[in-house]
Amino acid sequence: MATLRREIRIHAPASEVWKVVGRPEILHLWFPGLANCTVNGNVRIIMLGSGMPLPEEIITNDSLQRRFQYRITVPIFKFHLATVDVIDLFDDTCLVVYSTDADPGVMALVIGGATTGALEELRKQFESGVGPALDAVGINNNSSVAVGGTV
């Protein structure tokens, strides 16, 4: 069992960032290395850039706590739990925490290591005001999202 945590501060309100994070079907629009993903009920299937499909079970999608949790359901994992928290810092910025717990432990790094790039991409889209994930949820430059640290 191993645990891995990555976090990033984004200059955008938590409520806006949650609009993206809380939409499981658009993960591929901000998580580099995913070709696409589909959601059917609480089952999400992501297609990796290497061409490998990865089925997941959505555990939590809590818009009050702004917490999203899922687990990968392939046999190589004895256990997997990913948690994405969007935490309001009450200054029109937020902290996004992406945690990965996995057994075998190496898989935490194989899968969780990629979350660094995902968080960077999320910040890039919000702080530039443009990006496919923002387009998908109807956020753009003209919205109230902070851009480059300013409102």
């Binding site: 645990t3 290395g33 995913l34 850039g49 290497s50 190589i76 190496v106 990629a114």
Partner: protein, 523 residues
């Protein structure tokens, strides 16, 4: 027309595996001949003892602290400085054939350029989506063909094997186990970890493939092209699974145990107990601080016969490399380039090889991992005399050496110096020390070492980490204690030597990369 450069690297090869360095198991006549007519370095030191940081140092001419690849699993940015790019811009044709490992291999997301390139079966990166032109073709190499330690995966060698000899893909040892840990499963006659009987004929093995693809690329060049070719053999890195028909070259029963292997458990434990705690903890199987050794293998279980068999198989792999290099040298001669080619032969780091009862690698800065084979056979047309250099040099010195060979000034981002051609040259240019570093942070276990090799001493200072409080260290006299079995760090008689070396060590630390790059894969 200038001097051409054949840069030959192996992976995890010990200094004492070459005949010219005193080795008496593997027969290495090709490298020995290069040494006899060139410069043989007796104290070549890596700046990191694992692959990705060390290979990044070779390419960038920078210390790991500076290029930022601080441990395996941290990818070198695609726009990092590259001596290959410098040479390409100067008109050199450039190729990298064999093991790259500037980026992680474990890549289910298909994020890393070199993996994507290989998946697409492409041999050049030009006109690819990630090609930004900043360093010419990918990292300065216009031609790329990759392989690693087996037949699985999507690198060019694996694809070639799969397409041409699909029955052979599964003949290699499975480097990782079902949980993606480095495999501890034993094989061969004695059950040693990472030993395996490989039914594959020699002609399909990656050593021969690397040589043949190198020759193929050289054959594609014009006679008057200047070229830089990095020929990067994956062996003799574990697994030790050379082609079965070649294993009979060396009978493991005839092998003497390595000098660095204390033959009794009591002696091994006494020596290890005088070193910082992580040494003994690893030996006993209580702490595996890094990914590069099998997590589920306990070094204390290593038997003398297992070590003999591993040593023999390792030597077989070294012989195959030597013979493959001989074929490339013959091809070069056949092109009429013999007088104009510089050959540099080295490895990225070495292998513990039974020293102290240990194998593989980790945060252990001793000769087993840090004394490297390094041979520079200057182009005969350069008229340099053969020499043996005893002063410490580093892999960080390779990039500026390539520049000098090509008639270029080393770039200002390079941190090494062109290799000395004899000791007097080293003394005149103030080349007197080499630095090595280790940083690792894996699931809460952090280890940080900084080492200086100077004046016949190797001195390692520890920073606070998982099992270290920052007061630990190692100090060895390389002349009196060539096997580094007597740690003088706490010996009052050597306190001034220790103080002097430690002060120089910290004064000499290179500029850190900022921001620190994240660890995003195991290896």
């Amino acid at each position: 027309m200038g001097r051409k450069i054949l840069f030959v690297t192996t992976d995890q090869q010990r200094y004492d595996t070459l005949g010219c360095n005193g080795g008496n198991i593997a027969r290495t006549p090709v490298v020995d001949a290069l040494a006899a007519s060139g410069v043989r370095y007796e104290r070549a030191v890596p700046q990191s003892v694992v692959c990705m940081p060390s290979r990044s140092t070779m390419l960038t001419g920078q210390y790991p602290t500076t290029h930022g690849v601080w441990m395996n699993g941290v990818p070198l940015p695609v726009d990092a400085p590259s001596v290959a790019a410098l040479l390409y811009r100067a008109g050199y044709r450039t190729a990298l054939v064999g093991k790259p490992h500037f980026e992680p291999f474990l890549d289910p997301f298909g994020k890393f350029t070199e993996n994507v390139l290989a998946v697409q079966g492409r041999e050049t990166a030009e006109n690819q989506p990630w090609f930004d032109g900043s360093t010419g073709p990918h990292r300065g190499f216009e031609h790329l063909e990759f392989s690693t330690h087996g037949g699985a995966g999507n690198l060019h060698y694996a694809r070639w094997l799969s397409e041409n000899h699909p029955e052979a893909v599964g003949m290699f040892y499975q480097v990782l186990d079902a949980t993606l840990e480095v495999n501890a499963a034993g094989g061969g006659e004695n059950g040693a970890p990472q030993v395996h009987v490989n039914e594959m004929p020699k002609e399909w093995y990656h050593t021969d493939w690397v040589a043949e693809r190198t020759i193929s690329w050289l054959d594609s060049l014009q006679a008057d092209d200047d070229w830089f070719c990095w020929m990067s053999f994956p062996d003799p890195h574990h697994p030790w699974d050379p082609p079965k028909d070649e294993v009979g070259r060396i009978n493991w029963r005839d092998i003497d145990l390595p000098a660095g292997y204390p033959t009794t458990a009591a002696e091994r434990e006494r020596i290890l107990d005088a070193k910082p705690r992580h040494w003994r903890k690893w030996y006993d199987g209580e702490l595996v601080s890094n990914y590069e050794a099998p997590k589920h293998w306990v070094p204390a279980t290593l038997t003398p016969d297992q070590l003999r068999e591993v040593t023999a198989l390792n030597a077989v792999e070294c012989e195959l490399i030597d013979e493959a290099l001989g074929r490339v040298m013959a091809a070069i001669a056949a092109r009429g380039w013999g007088d104009d080619v510089d050959v540099i032969f080295t490895t990225d780091h070495a292998e513990l090889g039974g020293d102290f009862g240990l194998m593989f690698k980790g945060p252990y800065h001793v000769d087993g991992l840090m004394r490297l084979p390094l041979i520079w056979r200057p182009a005969p047309s350069a008229g340099l005399d053969p020499a043996v250099v005893s002063r410490p040099v580093g892999l960080v010195d390779l990039a500026p050496t390539f520049c000098t060979i090509a008639g270029l000034s080393p770039a200002d981002w390079m941190q090494g110096k062109p290799l000395p051609v004899h000791d007097a040259d080293a003394d005149a240019r103030g080349i007197d020390k080499a630095l090595t570093e280790w940083d690792s942070e894996l699931f809460g276990v952090a280890v940080y070492l900084r080492t200086i090799t100077r004046d016949g001493w190797v001195c390692t200072a520890y920073k606070p980490g998982f099992v270290h409080d920052g007061t630990e260290g190692e100090l060895y006299n390389l002349a009196n204690d060539p096997l580094q079995q007597v740690n003088l760090w706490e010996d009052p008689a050597y306190s001034s030597t220790r103080s002097d070396l430690v002060a120089d060590l910290w004064d000499s630390q290179p500029e850190p990369h900022s921001p620190r790059m994240p660890l995003i894969a195991p290896v």
